[in-house]
C-alpha cells in the first residue's frame, strides 16, 4: 500500500525525537526513585509553576506538531511514470493551519482589517481608475458592508465561541473533579470545595484555570483566524499569526537542542577536571578560559558564514529549502552549544572538587571502587540538580539569543520562519507612518509568554532542587 505522502525526517526532527525519548526515559527513571521524586512533588504544589508548565506544554505541543514533516505526492503525469513528490516540505502544523497558511494577501494589512494597509490603483466596475484601499481577499471577505458589519460580526463570533467554550470547560472541570474524587476517595462536594480554595496537593486550581484560558483563547482564535487576520499580514501578505506559530518550533529547537549539545561537554569535562585535578584539570581549565575569552557572537558569526559558503557551493546536497534551512538551524544549535557549556562546566568542576573530598567518595575508594564508577555513581547523581537547574535557566536565554542572532543576521536561515526573522523584517517598517507594529508585537507576545513561563518554571525548579532551601 502506498501513502499519498512521503515522510521526511529532518535532522532537527531526529534530535527532537531523541531528546523526547531521553526526557521520557528520565521521567520514568525518576518516577521510580523516591528521593528524586520529592523535589518534583514540591513543584507540583506551586500554582505559578504549574500554570507555567501548562503554557510550556501548550508551546511544546505546537512545536512537536511542527516537527512531523512530510512531502505530498504530486499527481501522476503522463511524462514520467515514477512517483513524484512535492518539493515543499510540510508539517502537521501546516496541515492544521492550512487556512492560515494559504490566506495570503497582497501585502500589509492591519490586525482584523478588511481593507489593505496601502492605497492601490484599482479599476472600478465602471472603468474609472481610483486610488483606494482595496478590500482584502480573505480578511473579512464574507462581510457585505465591512464598515458597519465588522464589529458586530466580530463580537457575535467571539461571544458565541466564548459561551460555548466556557460550557465545555466547565464540563471538563467537573470531569476532572470526579476523576480526582474517585482517585483520592474524597466525596465530590468536598473535592470541589478543596479545588476552589486551592487546597489540593497538586495545584489543580491553577492548572485548570490556565488550561481553560488556553482552551478558550484557542477556541476563539482558531475559527476566527480563518475569517480575519488576527495579527494582520506582513509585507508579502502572509498571516502573521501563522508566522508566530511557526516560530515556536524554531525557538524550542534552539532552546533545547543547544543544551543537548552542551551537556556532554559540560558534564564530562567538568567532572573530569574536578575529579582528576592536576594536569587534566589544567588542560580543561585552559580550554574553557580560552574559549570564554573569544566573544561568542564573533565565533557564531564566523561559523555560520563558513557554513553558508559551504552550502552555497554544494547546493545540490539539499533536497529542499526546508532541509537547507534545517541544517543551518542545527549548525546554529551546535555552535551555540559549543560556546555555552563553559558556565555549567565551571560550576560542575567546583562542585566535584568539593564532592571528591566527601567521605562517601573516600569510603568508595577505600572499598576499591574504580574511578569510572565513582564518577558515574557517586559524583554525577549528586551534581544532577545543578545540571537540571542550568538547563532550565539557560532555555529562556537561548530563545532570546536566537532572536538576537537572527536580528543581527547570523541566526537561522532567512527562509526559516522564526521570531528573530520576524523582528528583523519588522525593523524597517517601524519607521513608517502610520507604523506597522503587528509583526513585532506578535513575535514579542509569543516570545514573552514562552520566556516568562520558562523563567517562572525554572525558578520553581531551582527552589525545589536547591539544597539550602530544601526543608529536610
Amino acid at each position: 500500500m502506498e501513502f499519498p505522502f512521503q515522510w521526511t525526517l529532518l535532522w532537527t526532527d531526529r534530535m527532537i525525537y531523541l531528546l523526547l525519548v531521553l526526557v521520557v526515559g528520565f521521567g520514568f527513571y525518576v518516577s521510580r526513585k523516591e528521593h528524586l521524586l520529592a523535589p518534583w512533588r514540591q513543584i507540583r504544589r506551586r500554582p505559578f509553576a504549574m500554570s507555567a508548565l501548562v503554557l510550556l506544554l501548550f508551546y511544546l505541543s505546537i512545536g512537536l506538531m511542527d516537527s512531523v514533516h512530510f512531502r505530498k505526492q504530486l499527481p501522476m503525469t503522463d511524462t514520467s511514470k515514477a512517483l513524484q513528490y512535492d518539493p515543499e516540505v510540510l508539517s502537521l502544523l501546516d496541515v492544521l493551519l492550512e487556512g492560515l497558511k494559504n490566506n495570503v494577501e497582497k501585502t500589509y494589512s492591519a490586525p482584523l482589517a478588511t481593507h489593505a494597509f496601502n492605497k492601490q490603483m484599482l479599476e472600478g466596475p465602471d472603468g474609472t481608475k481610483q486610488r483606494i484601499y482595496p478590500r482584502l481577499k480573505y480578511g473579512g471577505a464574507h462581510l457585505v458592508n465591512p464598515e458597519t458589519d465588522r464589529w458586530p460580526d466580530l463580537l457575535s463570533r467571539v461571544g458565541e465561541r466564548a459561551v460555548f467554550g466556557i460550557g465545555i470547560i466547565v464540563l471538563f472541570y467537573i470531569w476532572v473533579m470526579l476523576v480526582l474524587s474517585q482517585k483520592h476517595q474524597i466525596p465530590p462536594k468536598e473535592m470541589t470545595r478543596k479545588m476552589i480554595r486551592g487546597e489540593t496537593e497538586t495545584a489543580w486550581r491553577a492548572i485548570l484555570l490556565t488550561a481553560g484560558l488556553v482552551f478558550i483563547v484557542v477556541g476563539i482564535a482558531g475559527p476566527l483566524s480563518t475569517k480575519y487576520h488576527l495579527f494582520g499580514t506582513d509585507k508579502v501578505g502572509q498571516d502573521v499569526l501563522y508566522l508566530a506559530l511557526k516560530g515556536v518550533r524554531t525557538g524550542l529547537v534552539i532552546g533545547t537542542l543547544t543544551t543537548l549539545v552542551m551537556l556532554p561537554f559540560a558534564i564530562f569535562l567538568g567532572i573530569s577536571a574536578g575529579y582528576f585535578r592536576g594536569k587534566i584539570d589544567d588542560a580543561i581549565q585552559y580550554l574553557y578560559t580560552t574559549l570564554s575569552s573569544i566573544p561568542g557572537v564573533l565565533l557564531i558569526a564566523a561559523a555560520v558564514l563558513i557554513l553558508q559558503v559551504y552550502m552555497d557551493k554544494n547546493a545540490d546536497a539539499f533536497a529542499s529549502i526546508t532541509e537547507r534551512a534545517d541544517i543551518r538551524l542545527l549548525f546554529l544549535c551546535l555552535i551555540l552549544g559549543v560556546t555555552s557549556w563553559i558556565g555549567l562546566c565551571r560550576m560542575l568542576r567546583g562542585e566535584t572538587l568539593k564532592l571528591r573530598e566527601m567521605e562517601y567518595v573516600q569510603a568508595a575508594k577505600a572499598l576499591g571502587v574504580g574511578n569510572q564508577r565513582i564518577m558515574t555513581h557517586y559524583i554525577l547523581p549528586n551534581v544532577m540538580h545543578l545540571v537540571l537547574i542550568a538547563v532550565v535557566l539557560d532555555f529562556s536565554g537561548l530563545v532570546l539569543a536566537e532572536a538576537i542572532l537572527s536580528y543581527v543576521g547570523v541566526g537561522v536561515d532567512p527562509a526559516m520562519i522564526s521570531w528573530g526573522n520576524m523582528i528583523n523584517s519588522a525593523r524597517l517598517e517601524l519607521a513608517r507612518e502610520p507604523v506597522v507594529w503587528w509583526s513585532l508585537t506578535a513575535a514579542f507576545i509569543f516570545m514573552f509568554v514562552l520566556v516568562l513561563a520558562a523563567n517562572v518554571f525554572s525558578d520553581a525548579v531551582r527552589d525545589a532542587f536547591d539544597p539550602r532551601l530544601r526543608g529536610r
Binding site: Y360, A363, A366, L367, G368, V369, G471
Partner: protein, 673 residues
C-alpha cells in the same frame, strides 16, 4: 526573696513546617539569679539552643514564633517588646556567644573594629575612647599583645583566639547575662580549658550570670551552679550541681550519666538509652521519654507527668509520686545490663602483628608562583610508627590539626605517603601496584566521623552494602542477598533498611550502616576516624558497644582515631599521643593514661573536664595554640607551650625513651632513663 535576673515562665517556641507544627520548646520555666551559672543540658534536638534564641528573641523567622510564655528580665517582659527595644537590650543587658567561632566573625573587618562597633553602638563612646576600650577588652580576654592584634583579621588568628574575640564582643556592652551556646564544642580540650577558665574568671570579676548550653556533662560539672536537663522540648529535671551529679532523679539524667564511657566500664557494655528522641511534631499523651525509659509503666504512656518541685529544683517524672515502681524497674535494669554484657575478656592472644606502620611520613608540598615552585612542605605526618595486633585496639589521640586523620588515610593508601612503610601481614602496602592494592583493600577499611557525609545520598542502603563486595569480589556465604539481612541484623538494623535511602535514618543508624558497609568486605583492620564524635552521648554508647561486640566476634583490629580521652579510656588497649605529626607518647592505656610522662599528655589529660565533682584536679595550663606544621618550632615541637621546657628542648628533637616494655615517650625529661 530577691528578684531573679532572668525568669522564664512556660516558654513555648513553635515552628511551622511542612510536617506540621514542631514544638521545639514546649513549656520551659526556670530562673537565673545574678552571678550564677545555669547550665542547660540535653542531646541535639532537645530544644536547648532554641530556648537561648527565644530569650534573645532571635528565633528564625518566619517559620518560628514564640507561642506563649513570659521572658522576664528583671521583671520586664521581653515578649511584648518591639524589635527596636530588643536591639538596645541585646549586647547591652544580655549577649550571646555561639558554638562556631570560625563563622561568627566577619572575615573582612579587623577584629578590633568589630569590637569597637559594638562599643560605639551600646556605650556611645567616641572613636578614640572606643579603641582604647576595645584594646582593654582584648587584654581582658587574654589575647597577648592586644594593640597589635587589634588590626588583625579573623583569618590571622586561631580558633581559640576567635572565641576569645567573640567573648570580648559579647562583653563589650557589659551585660548582666551571657548566653553561651556550646562555647567550647568546636575547640580542642586544651583550648577548651583556657576558655572555660576565662569565663569563670570574668564571671567572678563582673558578677555576670551565665546561661551555659552544652551537651558535655564534664563541662557542666566544672562550671554550673544549677543544672537543668532538657529532653524533647521540656525540662525534665532541675537541680543544684552537686545534688544532680550525686543523685540524679529523672531516669533520663541517670542514663545520661551512666552512658558516659570511661575507665570504670572497661570490659563491659556501656549503658545505653535505646531508641532516639521522638519527633516533636506530635501532641504527646504521656511522658516523652516513656518509649526509651526502662522504668516506664502503663501510666507513663497515658498521663503526662507533672512538674514536681523538690528542695533545689524539681523533676518531671511519675516515679516521684510512685517510688514503688522504681524498685521494680531497678531489677529490670539489672537484667538488661547483664544481658547486654559483652565478653571481651578471655580472648586468646596470638602474638603476631597484623599491621605495622614504621616511620610513616606524609608531606604536602607548598607551591607558590606561576610555575608552582615548591617552597616548603606541610609535614602533616612526620615519622609515625605503630603496630596493631589482631583483636586489639590502638587509639591515636591528639588535638585537631596534629595529623591523626592523615595517618589514617595514609595507612589506607588514600593519600600517597612520602616515606616509611605500612606493612599488613608481611606485605608493604606502599609498594603494591594499583591493581594489587585494590585486591588487598578488603583487609583494611575505614569508618568516618560524620555519618551524614559518609553515605552516598543517591544510593539505596542495599546498593551501598553491595558496592564494596562487587568491587572487591568478596565471597559471601550465600549467593542471594540474605547475607545483607544478616549483616544488617548484626549491626542492629532491620532487613527492610536495604530498600531505603540514607536520609531516612538517624545519625546513629547511619553510623551502623557505615559499619555494615565495612563489615561486608570482611576486613581485618578497621580505622575508626572519630566514629562517635558527631553523635550524642546515648547514641555514642550504642555505637561503641556495637564496635566492641564486633571486635570480639571477628577479632577485628581497630585503629581508633579520636580526641576524646574518655572513649580511649573505655575502649582502647594501647594509646599513642600525637603532637604536630609525631607521636610523643606511646604505650598501654593503663600506663599512658594512668601515669602520663610527657608534659603534653599530662596537660591533655588534666584539661579534660571530669564529671565526678568530688575529684578536684589541677589543670596544667598549656598556653597558646598548635604551631603550624609548615614551620614547626626548632627542637622539641612542644617546647614553646611546655611548662617544663629546658634549654636543650630548644635545640634538638628528643629521642625515644623506653620507660617500660609497654610505655615509651619522646621527652628530654626521661632521656637519662
Amino acid at each position: 526573696m530577691s528578684q531573679s535576673l532572668l525568669s522564664i515562665q512556660g516558654l513555648k517556641t513553635w515552628f511551622s513546617t511542612e510536617g506540621g507544627i514542631v514544638r521545639a520548646v514546649d513549656g520551659v520555666s526556670f530562673d537565673i539569679q545574678r552571678g550564677e551559672t545555669f547550665a542547660l543540658v540535653g542531646e541535639s534536638g532537645s530544644g536547648k539552643s532554641m530556648t537561648a534564641l527565644s530569650i534573645m528573641k532571635l528565633v528564625p523567622q518566619p517559620a518560628g514564633r514564640i507561642e506563649s510564655g513570659q521572658i522576664l528580665l528583671e521583671g520586664e517582659d521581653l515578649c511584648g517588646l518591639p524589635e527596636v527595644a530588643m536591639r538596645g537590650l541585646r549586647g547591652n543587658r544580655m549577649s550571646m556567644i555561639f558554638q562556631e567561632p570560625m563563622t561568627s566573625l566577619n572575615p573582612v573587618i579587623s577584629i578590633g573594629e568589630q569590637i569597637r562597633e559594638t562599643l560605639e553602638y551600646h556605650l556611645k563612646l567616641d572613636a578614640k575612647m572606643a579603641r582604647a576600650r576595645a584594646v582593654d577588652l582584648l587584654d581582658l580576654v587574654g589575647i597577648p599583645d592586644p594593640n597589635r592584634r587589634y588590626d588583625e583579621y579573623p583569618h590571622q588568628i586561631s580558633g581559640g583566639m576567635k572565641q576569645r574575640v567573640m567573648i570580648a564582643i559579647a562583653l563589650s556592652g557589659e551585660p548582666d547575662l551571657l548566653i553561651a551556646d556550646e562555647p567550647t564544642t568546636a575547640l580542642d580540650v586544651t583550648i577548651q580549658a583556657q576558655i572555660l577558665d576565662l569565663l569563670r574568671r570574668l564571671q567572678k570579676d563582673k558578677g555576670m550570670a551565665i546561661l551555659l548550653i552544652t551537651h558535655d556533662l564534664g563541662v557542666v560539672s566544672e562550671m554550673a551552679d544549677h543544672v537543668a536537663v532538657m529532653y524533647a522540648g521540656e525540662i525534665v529535671e532541675m537541680a543544684e550541681r552537686q545534688a544532680f551529679f550525686e543523685n540524679p532523679r529523672h531516669p533520663y539524667s541517670q542514663k545520661l550519666l551512666s552512658s558516659l564511657p570511661g575507665n570504670k566500664q572497661r570490659g563491659e557494655a556501656l549503658e545505653i538509652i535505646r531508641g532516639t528522641v521522638p519527633a516533636l511534631n506530635q501532641v504527646f499523651l504521656g511522658c516523652r521519654f516513656s518509649n526509651r525509659c526502662d522504668n516506664a509503666w502503663e501510666r507513663c504512656e497515658k498521663e503526662v507527668p507533672q512538674w514536681h518541685s523538690l528542695e533545689t529544683g524539681g523533676v518531671r517524672c511519675h516515679l516521684v509520686d510512685a517510688p514503688e515502681m522504681a524498685r521494680e524497674a531497678e531489677k529490670l535494669q539489672e537484667n538488661i545490663s547483664k544481658t547486654g554484657d559483652v565478653g571481651v575478656s578471655g580472648m586468646d592472644h596470638e602474638k603476631s602483628t597484623l599491621l605495622q606502620v614504621s616511620n610513616l611520613k606524609v608531606h604536602f608540598p607548598v607551591q607558590k608562583g606561576l610555575f608552582k615552585r615548591v617552597v616548603g612542605h606541610v609535614k602533616a605526618v612526620d615519622g609515625v610508627s605503630l603496630k596493631i595486633d589482631p583483636g586489639k585496639t590502638v587509639a591515636l589521640v591528639g588535638e585537631s590539626g596534629c595529623g591523626k586523620t592523615t595517618v589514617g588515610k595514609a595507612i589506607l593508601q588514600l593519600i600517597p605517603q612520602t616515606e616509611g612503610a605500612v606493612v599488613l601481614e608481611n606485605t608493604d602496602l606502599s609498594t603494591l601496584s594499583r591493581e594489587a592494592l585494590r585486591q588487598r583493600r578488603s583487609d583494611f577499611q575505614i569508618i568516618f566521623q560524620d555519618p551524614y557525609s559518609s553515605l552516598n545520598p543517591r544510593m539505596l542502603v542495599g546498593d551501598i552494602l553491595k558496592e564494596g563486595v562487587k568491587a572487591l569480589k568478596v565471597e559471601q556465604a550465600q549467593d542471594d542477598d540474605t547475607w545483607m539481612d544478616e549483616l544488617l541484623d548484626q549491626v542492629g538494623l532491620t532487613p527492610d533498611a536495604k530498600d531505603r535511602y540514607p536520609h531516612e535514618f538517624s545519625g546513629g543508624q547511619r553510623q551502623r550502616i557505615c559499619i555494615a558497609r565495612v563489615l561486608a568486605v570482611q576486613p581485618k583492620v578497621i580505622i575508626c576516624d572519630e566514629p562517635t564524635s558527631a553523635l550524642d552521648v546515648s547514641v555514642q554508647a550504642q555505637v561503641l558497644n556495637l564496635l566492641k561486640q564486633l571486635q570480639s566476634t571477628y577479632r577485628l583490629a581497630y585503629l581508633f582515631i579520636t580526641h576524646d580521652l574518655s572513649v580511649v579510656d573505655y575502649f582502647a588497649d594501647e594509646v599513642a599521643v600525637m603532637y604536630l605529626g609525631r607521636i610523643v607518647e606511646y604505650g598501654s592505656v593503663e600506663s599512658v593514661l594512668g601515669n602520663p610522662k610527657h608534659p603534653y599528655t599530662q596537660a591533655l589529660l588534666s584539661a579534660v573536664p571530669q564529671v565526678d565533682p568530688k575529684k578536684k584536679r589541677m589543670i596544667i595550663r598549656v598556653e597558646g595554640d598548635l604551631p603550624s606544621p609548615i614551620n614547626p618550632p626548632k627542637g622539641c615541637y612542644f617546647h614553646p607551650r611546655c611548662p617544663k621546657s629546658m634549654p636543650v628542648c630548644r635545640e634538638e628533637y628528643p629521642d625515644l625513651s623506653v620507660l617500660s616494655p609497654s610505655h615509651e615517650t619522646s621527652c628530654f625529661l626521661y632521656s637519662g632513663e
